[in-house]
Amino acid sequence: MSTDTPEPKATFSAAAAEAPGFHPRRFWSWRPLSDRQSGDAVVSNFLLHWFPAKSYRASFAWSYSFWLGTVSAALLLLLTVSGLPLLFLYIPSVERAYASVKDIEYVVTFGSWIRAVHRLSAHGMVIAVALHLVRVYLTGAYKNAAGGGQRRQWNWVLGVAMLLITLFLSFTGYLLPWDQLAFWAVTVGTNIASSVPAIGPMMRELLIGGREIEQPTLIRFYVLHVLFLPALLGLLFAYHMWRIRKDGGMAAVDRAASTVPAAPVKTKSYTLMGIARGASVQVEAAVDEGGKEGIRSSPHLVRRLAVVFIRLLGSVQALMAIEFTLGGALRGAGDTRFPLFVVLAGMVVMRLGTAVTLNALGFSVEWIYAALIADYVVKGAMLIWRFRSGHWKTVLAREPAPVSSPIEPSEA
């Protein structure tokens, strides 16, 4: 580059960008020099046009959302990208499907890599989408905040629909290799579908195009997998993103945006009690415990709870050992019903019963451990009684007589 050539970067200096009447448009910049330049990237770039001009720093916190929505979207992109070459390589016919997948694995250059990316992304996406759902539930992101026009419940519904489509995409993709695993997985899966009351068998026949898993099934699953379901998922994805914008923005947006209210002292506890006993998610109190004299609940309160929990857990170790060993021994001997009964009795009657009773009497949360101890005491006692009674020795005697060798399939 010669020295007398004008430096193009100079055009976009801060002063120039802010100058009245001068507005260079930039496609994209890692380091935009002004809000306007940053906004231009969003407005003028098709790939970014669905982004907000600004977002809160808190929304980007890994520890809040684990970026699970973004991870799911990235995996969807990766699945599309890795699926396109597979479209050219895979042949959806019962005679050639298995061989074409084998070719992808062993003959095509980079074939096994592309297929591995597609397969692993599919597994990953099911996990990411499920965790995303859990995250949205646990952070309460499905609830509307103060902002007007929010209908976040709709995005929850859309998300569940997308989760189901993701699962169905996995299921339809499962059949395509046309191997034993695929065949039997789809045999079992479509038989589950046919257990729907009344319309089940009809649904199965429509899904697999007959009574047997054959060529009509393969082509149906293939078209669903490569065309119908991805198109549906793409549409719902666009709608999902649009609703995020309409509903206020990305994760943690309410928290990042709201200021602490002044008049009634609201503590920083967000609990179910807040909803049950007041109008707010926050617990309203006469004294703000988070004042200058207060100590940090985290870690102090957490530490106290942990200490109590560990000590109590230690005191029931013997009973837990009895449950594991005797329960396992009885199940191994074929006496599976009694341990199931014991677990139910311990869990439902003792643990839940005690917990509900103590809660109704106004005991504090720590007393929940009393319920845990009661559970293990009862389970331990019942299992010891069962073991000593010796019933488990005779349970297997009712089964058919002992076995010899299995039958080899003969030639048809």
Partner: protein
Amino acid sequence: MKDRRDFLLNLGIGSGLAALGAQTVASMRSLVPNVSYDSPTTVKIGMPNDFADGLKFLPDERLFVFREGNTFHAVSAVCTHLGCTVRAEALSQPEVKTVEGQSLRLTHRFLCPCHGSKYGGDGSNVSGPAPKPLAWYHLSISQDDGQLVVDLARSVERDFRLTLA
């Protein structure tokens, strides 16, 4: 205000929607097969003398054919839970049981590899998730060449026997 213009507009929109609906119905209906290319349900499975005393498994039909002297019966190998193929296991000590008023020599039991259902030698579901017994199918002798014929669409009671003269 209803005038001719509104009427024609509604007529146009209505026709368009009706056409779209008809096209959708046609598309969906075309996916319901009118002709089945599934394998036939009535299958010749071989001459009776090809079957030795005891049990023979036919993997293509997913069928167990039992022979005891000159009587035959056929039990499905399709698990009634979710359709996996069950495996026959010979009992070390065969027992004779009366099933549906007919005495039946039980030589095997059936185990499903998928979810652990167990069936007795007569196909009755003993344990596991299987909701009902294995099907028994109708056997006959073909008029034209004397082969055994199984009708996989016709399940029969467990007292069914095909007895050859």
